[in-house]
């Protein structure tokens, strides 16, 4: 409920959210970094930076580059590791905001073990499996790019914990609908999409790639239309809830995703420009619902009218 009297609550794959706006993994740190700017309890939830079994170091500079209406990154999945996450990061987050822990690994067994560790901590509301990382050399082709390996990954992480299980998919596939069906078939509770588009940029003066890693992930407003298409197609392919991600910086942007069938959204790159973005998006959605006569934000989900 908000001051406006609109019901903003949402159920995402069994996770109860006060509003449908979460923060995207890797763009909000472990949550605390943005506390000076934003009352974290205004958020529907926080998806933390992907953690692996052991701490990992990242790529050498340059790790980021600006592109038209977007940015490239190749961080290299630098993270503190699941143990430090549970001991140091998680306890510091305020009660009352659901924390979804994002998980990344290079082998399926290790994915499962991270999930088991997370399941032991009551503060974790759900896990999001990062099945894609276009910019990590290790591994080569992504888990999320082959139906077989994706199925294996979902099965293993499903077995590893009873926590609500979100699968975060790569947009760098021929059929996002097929991948979504694989997740549903193997028992995932929901799907998050999209991760970054695999991309590259060049410095014509030095004639070198802008990123040390050569390839990177494209994010920001530039990819929003692709993300909306992926959500639209996935929502028609499966019955499990979808969390929309990609270039969301305003309430308008978020509402587009809800209309296309997303039950919730994540704000990513926009938090860099404005650390209060996620909170403003949440407020703006409620305002839109009032203006357009929706008593529950929930009713916006999938409300897109298709031409006859």
């Amino acid at each position: 409920m908000t001051a406006s009297g609109v019901d903003t609550t949402m159920d995402l794959a069994g996770i109860r959210l006060g509003n449908p706006v979460l923060t995207a993994s890797g763009t909000f740190g472990y949550g605390l970094e943005l506390a000076p700017f934003l009352d974290l309890r205004r958020l529907g939830g926080i998806v933390t930076k992907s953690v692996s079994l052991e701490p990992r170091s990242g790529n050498l500079p340059q790790r980021i580059a600006e592109t038209p209406a977007g940015m490239l990154n190749a961080i290299g999945l630098e993270n503190v590791g699941v143990e430090a996450f549970l001991k140091e990061k998680l306890p510091a987050l305020p009660e009352g905001v659901p924390v979804v822990a994002s998980v990344f690994e290079t082998e399926i067994e290790r994915y499962a073990r991270v999930c088991e560790r997370l399941a032991a901590d009551g503060r974790v509301a759900g896990v999001e499996i990062n099945a894609s990382c276009p910019h990590v050399k290790a591994g080569g082709i992504e888990f999320g790019q082959r139906p077989e390996s994706l199925a294996e990954l979902v099965r293993a992480t499903r077995r590893a914990s009873r926590l609500p299980l979100l699968l975060k998919l790569s947009p760098n596939v021929t059929s996002i609908a097929e991948m979504a069906r694989v997740c549903e078939g193997e028992g995932a509770d929901g799907i998050s999409l999209i991760n970054t588009l695999q991309a590259l940029d060049v410095d014509v003066e030095t004639r070198r790639p802008r990123l040390r890693n050569v390839l990177g992930g494209l994010s920001g407003p530039a990819i929003r239309p692709v993300a909306l298409r992926c959500v639209f197609q996935a929502a028609r392919a499966v019955a499990i809830p979808i969390c929309g991600i990609g270039g969301i910086g305003s309430a308008e942007d978020a509402i587009k995703f809800l209309l296309c069938g997303a039950s919730a959204v994540q704000v990513g790159t926009a938090s860099y420009l404005n650390p209060m973005a996620a909170g403003e998006v949440a407020d703006g959605i409620a305002a839109y619902a009032v203006r357009h006569g929706f008593a529950r934000v929930r009713d916006l989900v999938g409300a897109l009218e298709l031409p006859g």
């Binding site: 909000f28 700017f37 050498l60 500079p61 980021i64 407003p221 938090s271 860099y272 404005n274």
Partner: protein, 272 residues
């Protein structure tokens, strides 16, 4: 290290935006709720899209040192000296008084207090000069302070008059000799170090310049602090885009752990 104040995010109002020298401009911003800043801290500036249009391109905010800041009714006024080079600073250069610019800051950890009574040598190259003004002001109160400014050519220099006004000892070097001595500012540093045992060095500028300064200081057993300029997306430690390799392995985040570092912390080889 000076403790960073809690940063804020707000729309600041452009009070003044005028040409400084060559491609450089001086921007004055009225920042509601500005908590003040330590020498060497910076802000992330989002050149407001012209009119009320939400800007999607260029997308990222631009890191800029707080050149000077002063309290103003319920907030503060900050001054930025910046060089117009690409798309973002071009937008910044066109911001008119009364228009809004997004500000996030103060960010990062600034320069340590110059040790009392000991000589302080401040070395600024190019836009790096802008990071040194408030430090020079503080150093001047604590001991003999010499400021060495370097640039390619005279018109690239910023803030020279302001430094003079601080009553510090000022030396200038330009590569084409159009102002001060011809050559690199690190040559001035070499001389200065020779005449000032137990001096501390504070450097900001192009990476090769800072690296050289670090070598010279090390050779003399002088402490050396550098302020790094890595590309940044967020400025407050969440994107991990600004990482710099540490000498002992792993990375520091320039925006959160720096931008100021003890020169020995950095793996200069793998930074460039």
């Amino acid at each position: 290290m000076s403790d960073p104040r809690l940063p804020i995010r707000c729309d600041a109002e452009v009070v003044e935006n005028r040409a400084e020298s060559g491609p450089n401009r001086r921007l004055r911003l009225r920042v509601p709720g500005w908590p003040g800043s330590e020498p060497g801290q910076f802000v992330m500036l989002s050149p407001g899209a012209r009119a009320a249009v939400e800007r999607q391109d260029p997308l990222l905010p631009r890191p800029m040192a707080v050149y000077r800041s002063a309290p103003r009714d319920g907030g503060g006024e900050i001054e930025i000296l910046f060089k117009t080079s690409g798309r973002g600073t071009a937008l910044l250069a066109a911001a008119r008084p009364g228009e809004r610019v997004g500000v996030v800051g103060p960010l990062g950890r600034g320069f340590p207090e110059p040790p009392a009574g000991r000589p302080a040598l401040l070395v600024g190259g190019g836009t790096g000069i802008a990071s040194l003004h408030d430090l020079a002001a503080r150093a001047a109160k604590r001991g003999p302070t010499r400021v060495l400014l370097g640039a390619r050519t005279a018109s690239d220099l910023m803030g020279e008059a302001d430094f003079e006004a601080l009553g510090v000892e000022l030396r200038v070097a330009t590569e084409d000799g159009s102002r001060g001595t011809r050559g690199r500012v690190t040559e001035l540093l070499e001389e200065a170090l020779a005449g000032a045992p137990r001096a501390s060095v504070f450097a900001c500028g192009p990476t090769p310049m800072m690296r050289r300064a670090a070598e010279l200081a090390a050779a003399r057993g002088s402490a050396c602090f550098v302020s790094l300029e890595n590309p940044m997306a967020c400025g407050f430690g969440v994107c991990l885009g600004c990482a710099a390799p540490r000498a002992v392995g792993g990375f520091v985040l320039v925006c959160r752990d720096g931008p100021v570092f003890e020169a020995g912390e950095i793996d200069w080889e793998r930074l460039a």
